[in-house]
């Protein structure tokens, strides 16, 4: 399996790509916090947030469709919020008769539901832009510089490094299982009972665990023999320049304006 299977980085040469990863991480988090902090029904502020997203998207040389297509990833979770439509007290907007039950949508419920969806939709898009414009190792360095404990950063970096290796291992296991007819056919006759299939899958998980555990041992020994002393070194200095500070300031100012827009109108 190739590294790019999991990588979400999109190579472009834009100002957004060149921005220091620390600035991007902090502004993304502030943007999300700002969305969550806005009151329900702050439509102008939400619109301003979306405009900001489109601006960043353009500056990063991505097409409108790129961001738009990927922006619905969190949508299935909206199911969890559907109930507010019916449970918030307010003026009835619409109601349906289902059997002996009446479902009534209130205006307050509708406003809250829409606000939750918009907050989530805007937030996920900024996170997508962060990942698409920042290489994963740079992201990890940013977290390190932002005082996330080195151990955690190292563990995540390690996981990223070995994801592809273990994914390959899984694909080998799955191929071996398919070759031995554990697949369920349409008539449901082949492939044993559901218990048997679960047992096979569980044994595969066990096998994968044993192989991973052994690999971590080998990797550790290899690292020790190359002078590992508990932390990973980097050759990238990651120095903030004037432009990075400027962008950090401008970004924060824009978010403050969005907040004012949301609370004052």
């Amino acid at each position: 399996m190739h590294v790019s299977t999991f990588d979400r980085y999109e190579q472009r040469s834009s100002a957004v790509h060149q921005l220091d990863p620390r600035v991007k991480v902090v502004l993304t988090l502030l943007f999300i916090v700002s969305n969550v902090a806005l009151p329900d029904g702050a439509w102008w502020a939400f619109a301003a947030g979306w405009a900001l997203l489109l601006l960043v998207n353009r500056a990063a040389h991505f097409s409108f469709g790129y961001l738009f297509k990927r922006s619905f990833i969190a949508l299935p979770f909206a199911l969890a919020a559907v109930t507010v439509l019916f449970t918030l007290p307010g003026t009835a907007v619409a109601s349906w008769q289902i059997g002996s039950h009446t479902l009534t949508v209130s205006d307050a419920g509708l406003m809250r539901f829409a606000s939750i969806l918009i907050r989530s939709w805007l937030s996920v898009q900024m996170a997508i832009l962060l990942t698409a414009t920042t290489q994963f190792p740079d992201l990890m360095h940013a977290l390190h510089h932002l005082r996330v404990p080195q151990v955690l950063v190292s563990i995540i970096s390690f996981m990223y490094r070995y994801l592809f290796v273990l994914a390959d291992e899984v694909i080998r296991l799955l191929r071996a299982r398919d070759a031995r007819s554990a697949r369920l056919t349409t008539d449901g006759k082949l492939g044993g009972t559901i218990w048997w299939r679960a047992k096979v899958t569980g044994s595969m998980a066990g096998q994968l665990f044993v192989r991973s555990f052994d690999r971590s041992d080998r990797v550790y020994n290899a690292m020790l023999s190359r002078g590992y002393r508990g932390h990973l070194l980097t050759m990238n200095p990651h120095v903030m320049n004037g432009r990075d500070w400027l962008m950090a300031g401008v970004g924060t100012a824009v978010l403050v304006i969005i907040q004012l827009l949301g609370w004052l109108t």
Binding site: A74, F77, A80, T87, P89, V151, V170, I171, V210, G230
Partner: protein, 317 residues
């Protein structure tokens, strides 16, 4: 192409939790991560990073393993209980934290500001609860140990689902009366798949590498159950206090005032999922959920005690 970043109801995206709830979740998560790093480093030293990192990759890759159930659906596993049993709760928690962080950072599977809540839900709660229950039964016969593993993984998934429903409810994003039974119901099924795979995996590891299971254990078995429960209770009790902003409390008040019209709501399908003397409120449903989980844990414990008489403990490892 098999792809692990499937939609899971436990990965909360940004925007679905209120700010106070996100902050409180982060606070709880950070405290436990601090202890996890400290304890794991004491035991493993610089070996911690490669072990936890590769184990995190194992859990992530393991989520690609699925088994066909019926009609195009498939069971696949989350892995927190398995990780806690084989690596111990601290390293298991660190591995789960890495998995959740990577899923959020790389795939937007789960939000960034709500990541603290997601680590609490999918990392802290299932590793502690699962590990605690497993510890209760592990020194007994192989069959009892495997049953303990099954119950541990099932209960840990249910606890995670319960906490998810509570956090969403306290944020005013969903009604408790619907969220709690719906999440518990869906994950009762998800949990069965999880339990089957975990049991088979543990059984495989026990047959091939029994020494790994012995290494993974940490002293003080009973304390882990207590720790898991305390976390669950802290969340349940403090979350409403945290949402003192108009959001949460006003909403809960609205919920109570709305009881008259609630007769028409769809959750009348589950009218008995409440404690009668507490009335038909969201609060009552929470209590019902907690009582249910406690009951399962209690039964497991008693079962373990009863079986212990017939199966004498061979050694106190």
């Amino acid at each position: 192409m098999i792809f692990p970043a499937s939609v899971q109801l436990l990965h909360i995206p940004d925007g679905f939790l209120s700010l106070p709830i996100s902050v409180v979740s982060w606070a709880i998560t950070l405290v436990l991560l601090y202890f996890a790093v400290r304890n794991a480093q004491q035991v493993l030293d610089e070996r911690l990073v490669p072990l936890a990192g590769i184990m995190a990759a194992f859990i992530f890759a393991g989520q690609m393993l699925n088994f066909p159930v019926a009609g195009g659906t498939s069971g696949h596993f989350i892995g927190a209980t398995l990780a806690a049993i084989v690596l111990g709760p601290w390293v298991g928690l660190l591995a789960m934290t890495a998995v959740i962080s990577l899923q959020a950072l790389l795939f937007q599977d789960g939000g960034l500001v709500v990541m603290g809540a997601n680590i609490l839900i999918m990392g802290i709660v299932p590793t502690f609860v699962g590990y605690g229950l497993y510890q209760l039964l592990r020194n007994q016969s192989r069959g009892v140990m495997l049953v303990g593993t099954a119950v541990a993984s099932w209960v840990s998934i249910e606890m995670a689902a319960l906490i998810t429903a509570l956090l969403i409810g306290f944020s005013g994003t969903s009604a408790f009366n619907v969220a709690v039974p719906a999440m518990l119901g869906v994950h009762a099924l998800v949990g069965i798949g999880e339990a089957l795979i975990t049991v088979a995996a543990i059984s495989f590891i026990q047959r091939t590498r029994p020494q790994i299971l012995a290494e993974g254990s940490v002293a003080g078995s009973g304390r882990w159950v207590v720790a898991g429960l305390v976390i669950a209770l802290v969340v349940t009790l403090f979350a409403p206090l945290a949402s003192a902003s108009p959001d949460g409390l006003e909403w809960v008040a609205g919920e109570h005032g709305f009881l008259q019209t609630a007769k028409d709501a769809p959750y009348q399908i589950l009218p008995d999922y409440t404690i009668p003397f507490l009335g038909e409120s969201g609060f009552s449903t929470i209590v019902a959920g907690i009582v249910g989980v406690l009951l399962v844990m209690g039964i497991t414990y008693l079962l373990g005690r009863l079986l212990q008489r017939h199966e004498p403990v061979t050694s106190n490892q």
